[in-house]
């Protein structure tokens, strides 16, 4: 299961609160957790490389976050939205050139060796910076990690790096792996990538390809009394209709990441013994965007882009495709982001007449057959919803005289067609918002990115003003000033429409009533589950 193929659907906290409130009483904050038991849950694809320090993606975290821990985890009520894990505190220097981490004492690796600052230094310098898909950006200026003692790690940067960015990156990018396991031989070929060793509440036990992953309790875990579960088993269910059946047949107790189709949720919420949970994904927001190839002369015209934006009924998309488990989008930062979001941007209400007028104005009159021009539309195949939105967009465009032909590709071919060959006019993509624009949305707008970089601006869009804002924000150390720059960024993107943001969604979990302590942090599905328990 990859970050994208993790597959389907979700909600945004806002629009789904109603549903959440019906499920919340069952989540069971009141009960005292019970020890023991095996939690069986659905996994819909199988990541081979389970090292989260190299592959920072939700598909890998889903399994490995229970084994390998990060320095800090996201939190609903902690300071800056964080709670300590392997680090107890983090402090950024005013000049942006260093960050100091104080580490947790008495932590042991699964093989019994002690966890020290040397492990953090090794992970950061040898893995996050050179090898990690996201760390290559955030830690590009990381020069050294000093370890004055076993429990202190001081990161020093060659160029000023905003502390806000480092902080926002901690939950996803800071998985610490043991130096003594990785220091000999090539890191990419280390067997521990397939059988990870960490400090987490669960140890990797076995992986049977095509069948399951099994994790067992780490008896030497640092958390008091934790973990509660004896075992976690991820049962591989490749067909997306089987998770619901497996839940009903009581073969699994949990299906996270919307493994149960949205259209089935209404029915399944009425099955006795099952609960639908919409919380716990606030930190994992996916954005539904229309990517635009600005090399097409019609699409290079702002009026045409505005017309397309007006032609899309965002409410219909949220209501019919996401069945309410999503929110309409206004711009490149999702509404539920607590730090950067601004509603003060130009908007494009659903208005077919206006869209038609704009196209007439732009000089693209309807021909005798009612069509203005034809387009190639490539919906990303990773999610059901992106494909359905593709079907919808084709109809929405037909209403304004644009004849869109859908090109259906599998994942590999889609990536190649859009991001390397640029063989598209419009594409539907689901980029992930990672809590900070510097490591998510800006890459879809920024110019000068080489061909072939996936999930980036490959539409040939170039806007000097926007580029300048992005560069300035990446160097601005002051949190308030940096946030302000990103608000300006949102305004400009909404005005010039390098891409069209349609909706924002995250995921749904369905669980048996007996599973306790679900969804108690904003990245719950990819957190360590030390406090999750099973009532018998």
């Amino acid at each position: 299961m990859s970050e994208l193929t993790i597959s389907r659907r979700g909600l945004l906290a806002g629009s789904a609160l109603l549903l959440a409130s019906t499920a919340l009483p069952a989540i069971g904050f009141a009960q005292t957790p019970k020890k023991g038991g095996r939690l069986v849950l659905a996994a819909d694809s199988e990541p081979r490389n389970l090292n989260p320090a190299i592959v920072a993606s939700n598909g890998v975290f889903f399994i490995s976050s229970k084994i390998v821990e990060t320095l800090a985890e996201a939190s609903f009520d902690g300071k800056d939205g964080l709670q300590p894990r392997l680090a107890l505190s983090w402090e950024g220097a005013a000049d942006g050139l260093s960050v100091t981490f104080k580490l947790r004492d008495g932590v042991k690796w699964h093989d019994g060796k002690p966890f020290t600052s040397a492990d953090v230094a090794f992970s950061a310098l040898q893995i996050w910076k050179p090898l990690q898909n996201l760390g290559r950006t955030v830690f590009k200026d990381l020069e050294a990690v000093d370890t004055p003692d076993e429990l202190t790690a001081v990161f020093t940067f060659a160029e000023p790096t905003p502390f806000q960015l480092i902080r926002n990156a901690l939950p996803a990018l800071s998985s610490v792996v043991p130096k003594h396991v990785y220091e000999n031989g090539k890191i990419e070929d280390n067997p521990a990538n397939n059988a990870p060793v960490g400090t987490g509440p669960f140890k990797f036990a076995e992986y049977k390809a095509g069948q399951y992953y099994r994790l067992t309790r780490n008896d030497a875990y640092w958390g008091k009394d934790e973990p509660y579960l004896d075992e976690i088993v991820y049962q591989v269910l490749p067909d997306r209709t089987s998770a619901a059946a497996a839940l009903e047949a009581e073969e699994i107790q949990l299906a996270a990441f919307s493994a149960v189709p949205l259209a089935d949720l209404d029915r399944i919420s009425k099955v006795p013994g099952l609960k639908v949970i919409t919380k716990g994904y606030e930190g994992l927001t996916y954005q539904l965007v229309v990517e635009i190839n600005h090399r097409r002369k019609e699409l290079a015209d702002l009026k045409v882009r505005q017309a397309i934006a007006h032609a899309i009924d965002k409410d219909f998309v949220v209501k019919t495709i996401f069945l309410g488990y999503a929110a309409t989008a206004t711009g490149p930062v999702p509404k539920n982001d607590p730090q950067f979001y601004t509603a003060d941007v130009p908007t494009y209400p659903f208005d077919v007449a206006k869209a038609n007028a704009l196209l007439d104005e732009a000089g693209y009159k309807r021909a005798d057959d009612g069509k203005r021009f034809a387009l190639k539309l490539l919906p990303a195949p990773y999610f059901n919803e992106t494909k359905q939105f593709g079907d919808y967009l084709r109809q929405a465009l037909a209403a304004i005289g644009i004849d869109a032909q859908i090109v259906n590709n599998d994942s590999a071919a889609h990536i190649k067609a859009v991001y390397t060959d640029h063989a598209f006019d419009l594409a539907v993509g689901p980029p992930v918002f990672r809590g900070d624009p510097a490591i998510s949305t800006t890459i879809l707008v920024q110019s000068g990115i080489p061909d072939g970089v996936p999930f980036s601006n490959q539409g040939g869009y170039k806007n000097a003003e926007l580029d300048a804002i992005i560069v300035k924000a990446s160097e601005t150390l002051d949190t308030a000033a940096r946030t302000e720059l990103y608000k300006e960024f949102q305004k400009n993107v909404a005005a010039d429409l390098p891409l069209i943001n349609v909706a924002e969604w995250s995921f749904i979990s369905v669980a048996r009533d007996t599973v306790g302590n679900i969804a108690n942090n904003p990245r719950w599905a990819v957190s360590n589950w030390a406090d999750t328990y099973l009532e018998s």
Partner: protein, 328 residues
């Protein structure tokens, strides 16, 4: 015996050519694919240009197509199937892990469709044109006309979710630690639904072939003679009519083996059975060229072997078949 040897020798020589065509053809087809293993991998991770270049180099995808084909064939000569890029393990191991599952699934489904199909075919063909003949032949056709995945989904809803008689999927109870007989029973229980879904579809083929063969046989002289001699009908049906109609079914068995392998792609996906079919689908999605080549090669070898066995069985069963004819 010498006849069997002749069949064997001719077959083996021909098979080498066939396998070579299969390998080169598949390789060229896969090379024509847009997107390579790195594109497929990057879907789940994202990454910058440097990382992508790094991966292409590590997986040897920056070499020319001819070099890779030559390398592949050279390694194949040493019976080395190469390394899977998505599993980062030797392909032989990956395939051997899945092969038994697929063999059990296919074997049981073939046994079901062949056994039940020919039995029902005899039952139907015993009285050509009767109600039961028409009912069985149309009923089995209707089953044949149902898409396999849909039949599978309905079986799951009815027998696993509503009735809870059988598990919804998988090959055995996960991490159960069962061994020996109890494990075998466990696997058998898990296989009931996928085997039914796969087997019932092909049931019609054997049933209809059997009854068509029997209808033909009823008209033949030796059957007419047997009836004229006043042999009991049951005996005529089994010893003369059915026996004669059985031989073409054996040929069908060989021909169908390739189809079954294909059909199992969908069934394995619906029932979460970790077999070769699903592996093939993953290999296509992951653009794991050497893995898919390995799978195609192994299934081709499998099909050739099955057909060889069928031919040998045929030669033993029916003395009229000459060696030359069987190998054509």
């Amino acid at each position: 015996m010498t006849r069997a040897l002749t069949i064997l020798r001719r077959r083996l020589v021909g098979s080498v050519f066939v396998l070579l065509i299969v390998v080169i053809g598949s390789f060229l087809l896969l090379e024509a694919a847009p997107g390579d293993a790195v594109d497929a991998y990057i879907v789940s991770t994202g990454g910058d240009a440097g990382m992508i270049e790094l991966l292409r180099h590590r997986w040897g995808l920056d070499q020319s197509e001819l070099t890779r084909l030559a390398n592949y064939l050279w390694a194949l000569l040493h019976l080395d199937l190469g390394q899977s890029v998505t599993f980062s393990r030797p392909i032989r191991d990956v395939i051997l892990e899945r092969l038994p599952t697929t063999l059990i699934l296919m074997g049981s489904a073939t046994a079901l469709s062949f056994g039940l199909g020919s039995a029902l075919g005899i039952y139907a063909g015993a009285r050509p044109g009767s109600f039961r003949d028409r009912f069985l032949s149309i009923g089995s056709l209707a089953l044949y006309a149902v898409p396999g995945f849909w039949l599978g989904l309905v079986l799951i809803v009815v027998f696993a979710v509503d009735l809870r008689w059988l598990p919804i999927g998988g090959i055995e109870t996960i991490a159960s630690g069962k061994t020996g007989f109890s494990r075998a029973t466990d696997i058998a229980i898990h296989l009931v639904l996928p085997v039914s879904a796969l087997g019932f579809i092909y049931l019609a083929l054997y049933l209809r072939m059997m009854r068509a063969g029997m209808a033909e046989a009823w008209r033949q002289d030796f059957v007419l003679a047997a009836r004229a001699r006043g042999l009991p009908r049951r005996r005529v049906v089994l010893a003369h009519v059915a026996r004669n109609a059985l031989l073409p079914l054996v040929t069908m068995l060989g021909l169908q083996s390739a189809q079954m392998l294909g059909g199992s792609v969908v069934i394995e996906s619906v029932f979460a059975v970790p077999g070769l079919g699903r592996l093939a689908q993953e290999a296509v999605a992951g653009r794991d060229t050497p893995l898919l080549l390995g799978i195609i090669l192994i299934s081709a070898v499998l099909v050739i072997l099955i057909n060889l066995l069928v031919d040998l069985a045929y030669a033993v069963l029916d003395p009229r078949v000459g060696a030359g004819e069987a190998s054509a």
